[in-house]
Amino acid sequence: MNVELTELTRKFGRTQAVAGVTLQAGPGVFGLLGPNGAGKTSLLRMMATVLPPTSGTLRLLGRDPGGYVPRREIRRRLGYLPQNLGYYPGFTVTDFVEYFALLKDMPPMQVPRAVAAAIEQVGLGDRARAKLRTLSGGMLRRVGIAQAIVNEPELLLLDEPTAGLDPEQRVVFRALLREFGQRATVIVSTHLVEDVGAACSEVTLMDAGRIVFHGTPDELIARGVGHGVGDAPLERGYSAVLAAARS
């Protein structure tokens, strides 16, 4: 198991952002769905080793991120796209991806090729030497995805990766997710239900800091048959599960 969470909680002051999450994940693409404020981002940040849990245990890639040495090892194999990624305006696309490849401790000899591969994978081959300040929002998002995948991570955490991508790019991106899901654990937080249906092998639905559903997209669809509101089967499943959890 690449990810093992047991009774994980996180409090901010008196707010319980994550209220006891138990979850296991091996290779595959996992969709993390839920309304704003459900605790998706806090959960991802804990898995990205940037936010310590308040209680519970967290094992990533078979290691405990609490210790310096195992945490460093986890981080070498981690790809993380934060929800709000800031950019260095004076850097080129290549500079930016290379910078984080180096900070991920990649062997310097491998870096130029890995950077080129990541940039081509997100479809920015014709912008590789453009300054970040000249790029559109969707392109910047793709630069963020490129830095996340540059080290061929075993654990890939993406917080709202499709924000700002146009429909065609989203289709390409989902194919990329499926490809990574063959080898790595990919966890994608999103509020776009159609991303989940097209790319994810399993769905976890969060509400108020808890997991209220975990299963395949088809199982989520089955929950919505007959009740639930929405335009698509997955949306009806989503709303039905949320309504049941809140009642």
Binding site: P53, D64, Y99, F100, L102, K104, P108, R113, E120
Partner: protein, 242 residues
């Protein structure tokens, strides 16, 4: 010649053979064409720090860029001029504030727009902060010492300001890290230093009291240590979970 398709003679050889992966070939080309050649300073830092990532982070420090260093030198040169002209050790009074500004702009959540991402890196944000702050401090100390010596200040003054400079820099760093704003760091460092000078002047009637009084060394160092602890706390990393 039209009709014979002579000009297209080379293009009619059809698609690439199935066993040749052109994408892979292009990546090999792109890796060479797009790659950035690290400068000599970065290569030297990489060998010294045994980490190319840390070296790259070091050479992108805002307060180590050429413009910043030139500005520092200009200020210190002006200080030398004032010192020689007025007899007041301006260099010693200016150097800690200049260094504090450099430290505040070395690294931190206010400097790094991708701070959240940087925190998840194998080369940790703390290592980057430490390396950059030490490099900025070292450079400013060296420049300040050179300027102080050039202005003909007494040895007590020349070395005396190193200790308060440490304290002021630590204050600037702590303020910049906690408030996530380098400007607040600069303001706090400068304000702290001005208060120390004015307090020294009020108590003993000399503007250099804050620099030369040896009984102040311990309080300065204790204060610097406290600020260092604040920085460590503000950049603390996930504790053990089990």
């Amino acid at each position: 010649m039209t009709g014979d398709n002579l000009t297209g003679g080379y293009q009619d050889t059809g698609p690439a053979p199935g066993d040749v992966d052109l994408d892979r070939v292009w990546l090999g080309v792109a890796a060479q064409v797009w790659r950035r050649q690290p400068g000599s300073a970065e290569r030297a830092a990489g060998r010294l720090l045994r980490s190319p990532g840390l070296a790259r982070a070091l050479v992108t420090t805002p307060s180590l860029l050429l413009g910043w260093v030139i500005a520092t030198v200009v200020i210190l040169l002006a200080g030398i001029g004032f010192t020689l002209g007025t007899g007041t050790p301006w260099v010693a009074l200016l150097a800690p504030a200049v260094a504090a500004a450099g430290i505040a702009y070395a690294y931190g959540p206010g400097i790094d727009p991708a701070w959240e991402l940087s925190q998840s890196m194998a080369v940790s944000d703390r290592m980057v902060l430490l390396t950059r702050a030490l490099a900025v401090f070292g450079l400013n100390a060296a420049l300040g010492l050179a300027a102080s010596a050039a202005s003909g200040a007494a040895a007590a003054v020349t070395f005396g300001w190193l200790v308060p400079m440490t304290a002021v820099c630590a204050l600037a760093l702590a303020a910049a890290t906690v408030t996530r704003s380098p400007n607040v760091g600069v303001a706090a460092g400068s304000a702290g230093w001005v208060i120390a000078i004015l307090a020294g002047q009020a108590a003993e009637g000399r503007s250099t009291a804050a620099i030369t009084d040896s009984f102040l060394v311990l309080p300065y160092l204790a204060f610097a240590a406290c600020c260092g602890a604040v920085v460590l706390f503000a950049t603390r990393i996930p504790r053990g979970t089990s």
